[in-house]
Symmetry: C2
Subunit: 429 residues, 2 copies
Amino acid sequence: MSDANDFLKVAREAREAAALLGPLPRAPKDAALRVIADALVERSAEIIAANARDVERAGEGGTAETMIDRLRLDEGRVKAIAQAVREVAELPDPVGEVIRGGTLPNGLELRQLRVPLGVVGIIYEGRPNVTVDGAALCLKSGNAVLLRGSSSAFESNTALVKVMREALAGTEVPAGAVQLVPGVTRDSVKHLMRARGLVDVLIPRGGASLIQAVVEESTVPVIETGVGNCHVYVDAAADLDMALHILMNAKVQRPSVCNAAETVLVHADVAAEFLPRALAALAEAGVTVHGDERVAAFSDAVVPATEEDYRTEYISLDIAAAVVDSLDAAVAHIREYGSAHTDAIVTGSQAAARRFVARVDSAAVAVNASTRFTDGGEFGFGAEIGISTQKLHARGPMGLPELTSTKWVYTGEGHLRTAEGTVIAPSGS
Amino acid sequence: MSDANDFLKVAREAREAAALLGPLPRAPKDAALRVIADALVERSAEIIAANARDVERAGEGGTAETMIDRLRLDEGRVKAIAQAVREVAELPDPVGEVIRGGTLPNGLELRQLRVPLGVVGIIYEGRPNVTVDGAALCLKSGNAVLLRGSSSAFESNTALVKVMREALAGTEVPAGAVQLVPGVTRDSVKHLMRARGLVDVLIPRGGASLIQAVVEESTVPVIETGVGNCHVYVDAAADLDMALHILMNAKVQRPSVCNAAETVLVHADVAAEFLPRALAALAEAGVTVHGDERVAAFSDAVVPATEEDYRTEYISLDIAAAVVDSLDAAVAHIREYGSAHTDAIVTGSQAAARRFVARVDSAAVAVNASTRFTDGGEFGFGAEIGISTQKLHARGPMGLPELTSTKWVYTGEGHLRTAEGTVIAPSGS
């Protein structure tokens, strides 16, 4: 149980730090972020040395070279991480923004303000830069952060957190606001998931199985991120040149990301004209097409699609394909098989676009544009903590405002509520 | 397992209905609500007869008369329920509201719209009017609803849902959008809590133990409502006449509700002047004071307070009381013992008000006003589905907008994302 006690200790430190950090205005938070950025650059040798131990261990363990490359830090990468922190400092502070407000008929002044969530837990598998990005976004939005990275990056993450905390010691932001969850076993994830009351929200960033496990087991509220089974629907009224370019961009421009297309649906009226061109272009780009019989009729290279294909986020040079008899059939397919991330329609018809937008129930719907634009940077957020595919709290790309909650404040002059309405208390002074 | 199958059947019906209801504009939804209101009045005899069977069973079971009164329906109460439905029809439709939007530098038109959540589950213990209120608020916001009321009101709820569904049969809103969860055992609650993917959000309305159980066990996202351990803090700079009136209003105007005060904290500097008057007024109103030693010094009637008292939502004529040495000590007490519902400060000092508002981390903070104003009706929402005491998605009184999610829509003219920036696809027509 010492593991559990270690966890409780850091979670309570984070909670105390959050109480001090929450009310801080923008200037001291930005100053602290710049101190962190400087420290990361100054101490990059120490960070790179720790990272080298992770890289060596991964090499001995037989990790694939592409994965090792994702893990590796060098001077240029550390500088880029520091630069990203400086960019977060430049972003507007979401805390204190008045979202709604006014004077009620009884004279009470009512405001709804953005406030920090409190303590944010991030569980991630990715590169060590998430350790710094996540901490910077949380600090900027007034939140303490509990970081639980992958065991493969443990030495790197430990060094990065040490540098950040020691940098904070000279600032108004309490060092306790940045915490690495102790331990690298699955138990440390369990502690995070059961820390209701100490942790306000958990954000899992990683593969579908990690996210599924957290959603199933966590009593702390979770924001689901990332799984993208995105569709491109080529409508009967599509400009087929445009449709072909959008399909190819959505599939092959960067196949490994969540906003890449995984399924193409083609209206029957244009299948004979569109599919031969699309199948040739996809083959040319090295994409394997998993299609139904009506797609396969146009090429011997089409692999027969299973139900499972239509549910799959390939994140590879594969795509599922089907011919549909109507826009409504495309919508029904997307609602049944999609992951509600981003779905696109290519059409010249205003009525078709309107119907598709109203009926596809996804975080983002694109009209005559590639699915690749669903991204905090593209949307102009300046930073992104992930892309939510759930409906509560945040949906789609999450920027700094999505790391806040709200608080109602009402101010009166002795306002009392009675069965007959508001009465103002007599004042003695 | 027939119970589980029965549940799945209604949940799937709700999901299908949600897909049809979601895109409906305001007019057909409002028309359907008015048809429901008319049907409730026309068929009130049938509803009252069903209710009489619940009332009879409760009487035989030895239920307290106050509880039976909460359960009982008569013609006047049915009329009032129907009137509330008509008032929901008058409220603005949250669906389709553009929350953010603009044209990105690359020409993409980006909008964030409010959309229905989908299928909302409500678990409640209260009066049968929640059955109709909950259904009306969900329909108005484009959501299908799964209602799971208390077994004591089963006949009443069955009759109310039957009338609502039969009324919907003549409208554009699918009758499947209103569903009573089959069965009255705990199992039916379990099915709801495990229906991730079929149910988008669960709202438990009831006592702390119900809410705790749902939060612990649900894999469906939950919005916690209702527990209110509200504080009134009398600052050193308070107008003590105003403070006394606010304290008494917050405690005794309606002690059974969640925004009633449960603890009073008094700054040491004004304790000797304020507490004798406050203790006399509370005693006069029949309130038992559970106080620390510094409070007890002013009256023999004070009952010694335990740690537990400071954590308790009495919802009765009881109040916990303590003397604090500073505003910060009051804030620390509230953060430690409160339920983050509503906490009030009475003070003439601008600096004290500002510090209290910034540091008390509650859904609502009142300055020189009674805690009783934290209420959807008082805030001008026109309707309230509950008061959220959690930080994600909704915090404080929840109106119709809190029953929605959002969707990003972006429209281009063949927009493609490349490593060098946006490129517009060539068009063939």
